[in-house]
Symmetry: C2
C-alpha cells in the first residue's frame, strides 16, 4: 500500500494542492490507527519533528482551517482557553479529564441516544454533543 499517494488524492479531491507541508500534515494527522485530539501547539511540534525542519505557524493555522472547512478536522472547544481539534469528524461525545486536560472519545454505546423534546421554530438541529467533565475521585482517600 502506497503512503503519500492516498493523501495526494485526498487533497486533490477537495481542491487543495498537495504541497509538501500539507502531505506531511496529513501523515501526522491521518496516517495512524486511531483518531486523536490535538492543539495547534501539539501539531506544530509533531510536524516539525516529522519534517526535521521548521514549518511556519501561519501555514499550520491555514492548513488546519482548510482541513476543518473541508471536513477533515473538527474543533472541540472546552473553555475559552482550551481548544482542541479532532481527527474524528463524526458527531460524537467526549469525556474531558480536568486533571490531565485530556479529551477522550465516547463510544456510541457509552451513552443512550439523546432525545430532544423541544424544537426551536424554523430551526433544524445540526448537532447534539455531550461533554462529560471528569476529575480524580478523592472522596475515599482521606
Amino acid at each position: 500500500m502506497p503512503k503519500n499517494c492516498n493523501f495526494i488524492e485526498k487533497l486533490r479531491g477537495v481542491g487543495l494542492r498537495p504541497t509538501k507541508q500539507r502531505i506531511n500534515m496529513c501523515e501526522v494527522l491521518f496516517n495512524r490507527e486511531k483518531t486523536f485530539h490535538f492543539t495547534i501547539n501539539d501539531l506544530v511540534k509533531m510536524i516539525s519533528e516529522k519534517m526535521n525542519q521548521k514549518i511556519s505557524l501561519a501555514t499550520v493555522y491555514n492548513t488546519v482551517h482548510a482541513f476543518e472547512k473541508k471536513g477533515y478536522l473538527k474543533e472541540i472547544s472546552i473553555d475559552s482557553h482550551k481548544s482542541y481539534f479532532d481527527t474524528n469528524t463524526s458527531s460524537h461525545h467526549h469525556f474531558f479529564d480536568e486533571d490531565t486536560n485530556e479529551l477522550i472519545d465516547c463510544d456510541e454505546s457509552d451513552i443512550d441516544k439523546i432525545n430532544i423534546r423541544k424544537n426551536i421554530p424554523g430551526k433544524k438541529i445540526n448537532s447534539v454533543e455531550v461533554l462529560i467533565r471528569v476529575a480524580s475521585d478523592n472522596q475515599n482517600q482521606k
Copy 2:
C-alpha cells in the same frame, strides 16, 4: 425589599468586598427576572450604561472571574472564538443558534436524563452538558 443590600451581603458572604463596581455588576447580572447569557463585551457595555461612566476592562475581567470562582457565574464555550458567561450556574443544557449566535437554555424537561454507561477508572463525573447546535431550516423554502 431593599435593592443593594442583598448584593452587599451576597458579596460579603463569599469574602468579596462590596465595592461600587461589584455592586453595579451584581445589579446588572442578578437583579432581573430570568438568568441570561453574555459576553465580556456585552457586560462592559451594560455596566458602563448603568453607571454612566467608564469601568476598567481589567475590573470587568477580574470581577467576572472572581464571580465565576465563587460560583455566581459559569462559562459556556461554543468555539474558540465564542465564549459566553451564564448567570444560570446550575448544570443545564443549551441550544446554540448558529445564525444569531444566541445561546438558549434547555429546560429540564426538554431532554431525557442522560445515562452514561462507561466510567473512567478513578475519576468521578463533575458535569454532563449537552450542546445542541441549530440553524435556520432552509430545506423547504425553494
